[in-house]
Amino acid sequence: MADAGGLRARLLARPERALRGVSLGWTAAAGIFVVVAALLGLALGPVDLGVAAVGREVLSHVPFLGVESSFSDTQDAILWELRAPRVALGLLVGAMLASAGASYQGVFRNPLADPYLLGAAAGAGLGATIVIANDLGGDAGLDLRPVAAFAGAMLGVGIAYVLGSSVGGRETATLILAGVTVASFLTALQTYVQQRSADSVQEVYSWILGRLETSGWTDVLIVLPYVAVSAAVLLWHRRLLDVLAVGDDEAASLGVPVARVRLLVVAAATLGTAAAVAFSGLIAFVGIIVPHAVRLMAGTSYRLVLPLSLAFGAGFLVLMDLVSRTVVAPAQLPIGVVTAFLGAPFFAVVLRTTRTVGP
């Protein structure tokens, strides 16, 4: 670190001119992607409302346009009380899973880190299963799933991280091994709890496979604050994630409080993941696919990867949900099946590329 000063200047400076051009293009692309995905999500579905009719209905809510909606009460209810909250939840969950995945990858300097490989999802699954199986909080009208999921997720990531770093060695391999170990153990516990309670097997099962079917805007409003806080913390730290990328010692020598940043980012990513997972179930691979697709397209700086993952993750999950609720209409597929079906092959490609490029 002979030229620590130079490195610091390079990393912490704001290369505004260079970045702004890229950012503007990508901001526009990301914005268009999210809007198009959301509009497709609203316009299409198992019930054919007619794309043009949906457009008229949406425009009829814009003042001074004078557009008349042709919707019946039933169609209105389908669009605004069933389909729109589902699209909104998809946006939130997708944004959260993708940005949390990107953050885990940055903070652990590990291209394969995501809520699933680190044990966060398995821990959240255990917490939520315990709540569902024992019907906790239901009598008091409380939904304890987010809280239990968060506790379980923190437990999972915490054990995985402590285990991984205590073994030491090549961090990529050991952290992933630790994460897989913890995830297997927590999944075993979760399966045990689930099997002990045959009455709720179905509910747990459908939750595990992922779902965005909402009970209306209430779900969206409950998830929103978690996602907003979590995403804000992650975005705030995106520059520091770039600094962490050069290594703990180097980052510390540049004045970055490594331990605190890591804890804060992990806590924020885990909180957001847990809240999303508590409502949407285990939707795999979004945290891997989206950040890596963004890296392949736009570059590896977290100043780009984080906000773009957030946006593309939101749009991506809405599109995946569109597939899950239309491909076998009027039935639906669990969304986790759709994301895994598309995600697994992509993950294989990522594995091949990172093997040659290095973490």
């Binding site: 039933t74 099962y205 459908s206 609720r325 039935a331």
Partner: protein, 319 residues
Amino acid sequence: MLSRSLAAALAVLLAFVLAGCGGDDDTASPPATSSAAVETTPAPAEFPVTVEADNGAVTFDEEPDAIVSLSATATESLFAIGAGDQVIAVDDQSNYPADAPVTDLSGFEPNVEAIASYEPDLVIAAYDPGGLVDGLEKLDIPVLLQDAAPDLDVAYEQIETLGEATGNSEGAETVVESMQIEIEELVASVPGVEGATVYHELGPDFFSATSETFIGSVYELFGLVNIADAATEADAGGYPQLTGEYIVSESPDLIVLADTKCCEQTVATVSGRPGWDQIEAVQHGDIVEADDDIASRWGPRTVVFVELIAESLAGIGRP
């Protein structure tokens, strides 16, 4: 309850495997294996007797008096036909009748050793996961496998088979005959409901049952149109997961909740779901709170379910 959970799990797996294939092979309900049951004269029970079950022909040299039932439906049938005092143990889901000897045996994750420790001379199961039948046959314990019946005829045959195998043919005949008569009368009591639409709910995540299932066949008796049938292509198992917006747009005339115990669904919770106030059944209060267990079994208490449906249909469409 048990079979419903299994069926739902199976349905999810099938949805995964068969997505888009439109396969119509029905793994849950093999062709009726009834020939023996029909041909055998319902005379006083004579042993040895050979009966047909879903695991093939099974021969009994003498009347079994240590029966283990891993099927909640079979438990209800055994007690109804008068074989109750031959039953020594039933699985943890067999909660009816109250005097059934409930144990912690599981029909969902059956443990052959635990079952064998009761030294049964007949085991009845509705599901054969992980070599249950093979394992018991190796121990020379006769097994009758009676899968979920796809319709009432098969359900009747299963009761008759239980009668022959346990030396209670007359009791079984009586039960079947009274079921047939009562159901026929109940269906006839609500004329003119043909074509009304029904949504049968297995869970608040909108798992439903098509006409290929036993419960679906009950709705067919009344001439009802099952809105889940549109998803038959997508789900050969008969238990598709519908979407909320499809249910609202179909606006069924009758909603039957088979998730009142598992998931605490009520008329109030269903009426309060966003957008559901547009549904005919919700507007007219035609929502039936069924007992999960009765609605998921295919035994003698099917009559109770049919009666519940008939009562609801009698006042359908009126506020």
